[in-house]
Amino acid sequence: MDKGRRDFLKISGTSLLGLGLGGTAAATGLHRAEPDPDAGPRWAMVVDTRKCREKHGCTACIDACHEIHNVPDIPDENHEIKWIWKEDYPNAFPTQVHAHTEESVFEQSVLVMCNHCERPPCVRVCPTQATFKGDDGIVVMDMHRCIGCRYCVAACPYGSRSFNWRDPRPYIDDVNGDYPTRTKGVVEKCNFCKELLAKGKLPACVEACAAAGNEGVLMFGDLNDPDSVVSEALRTANTIRRKPALGTAPHIFYIV
C-alpha cells in the first residue's frame, strides 16, 4: 500500500472513531435539555416528596384517580389494580438510597405511577401498538386493541402496569358514568388524565392534592413551556427520577 492510501485510511479511521464517540456522548444524555416552545406540549409531573411526606395518611390523589377512572378495589393483593400508589422509598429508588440514608428520607413513602417515559420499554415490546406514545409525551393504553399478552407488564421497570385478572366491575363501588371501566384480560395504568387534559383541566391527582389544601406538592405542566410550574420547579430544585441508569428518561421528577 502506498503512503498516500495509508495516511487516508489512518485519518478516516480516527475521524470515524471521533464521530462515533462524539455521537455516543450526545446519546448518553450528558447534556441538559432546554424547553422547546415551538414544539407541542410535553407533559410532566414534579412530586415534592419533602412536602408530601409531611402529610401522614393523606391519600387524596389516589382516591381521586381511582374514583374518576373506575379503578376496581380488589382485596386479593395478587390481582390488585392500581394506577397510583404510595411506595416505600427504598423500593421506589433502590439505587438512590443506602444503609446510612437520613432517616426521614429512608422511611418515607413516595407517590409512584406510570412514568410516561421518554423511551418507554412497554411501547417497544407491545406487539399490537395497543400501548403507544403520543406526541404530547403521554404513554397511552388503547383498551380496544390490547390482547392481554402482558409483555408490557414484564417490560416495565417500575411495576406501573396492572392486568385485569378478573372482571373488575363487581369491585367498583361507585361507578363514574363519564368514564368507562375496563374488562377482564386487558392491561391498564395511569393515563396522565388525558381525557381531562383534552378539556384544559389538570390531572385528577394534582387537583385533589391542591383541593386538600396542599401547595406545590404535585405539580403538572408542559416541559416545553419555560414558564410552566414544572419547568420552574425543575430549575429551582434538584430532582431525581426512578432507575435512571436504564435510560428510559421518565417524565415524573422527584424533589427529595
Partner: protein, 134 residues
Amino acid sequence: MPSRDTGRIILGLVVFLALVSFPIWYTASQGRSGERPELVYPEDETRCVESAAYMKSWHMDLLNEWRDTVVREGERTYVSDLGHCDFDMSLQNTCMKCHLNKDTFCDRCHNYVGVEPKCWECHVEPGGASHGQG
C-alpha cells in the same frame, strides 16, 4: 334406479329441510312472523349525529372510527355531515346522553339480530354499570 336406501335418503332429506327451515316455521307458529324490533326514541332530541338511515347502516363503523380517532389520534370533535353541530366523539357521553335506555333502544335491535357488541363490557350504560359480564 331405486335402491333399498332410497327410503332412508328421502327421510334424511326431509329431516334436513325441516331442521334448516326451523327458524322460519317456528317463528310463524308463534304468530310473530314479520315482527320488527320496536325502538323507543329519545323524547326531546330530534337530531342525531347523522341521519337515522345512515346510523342504522353505519353506526358500528362510526363508533369504530370514533374509537380510533379519540384514543390514537387525540382528536375528540366530530363534524357531522348534516352540518348542524359538532359532537364530542364519545359513546358514553354523547350517544348515551340522548339514548338514555340501553334496553329499549340498543338491545332491541341487537337482540333481534342476535349480536352481542362488546362495547358494554367497558363502556358504562346509562343508569350505571351492570355488575358482572354476560
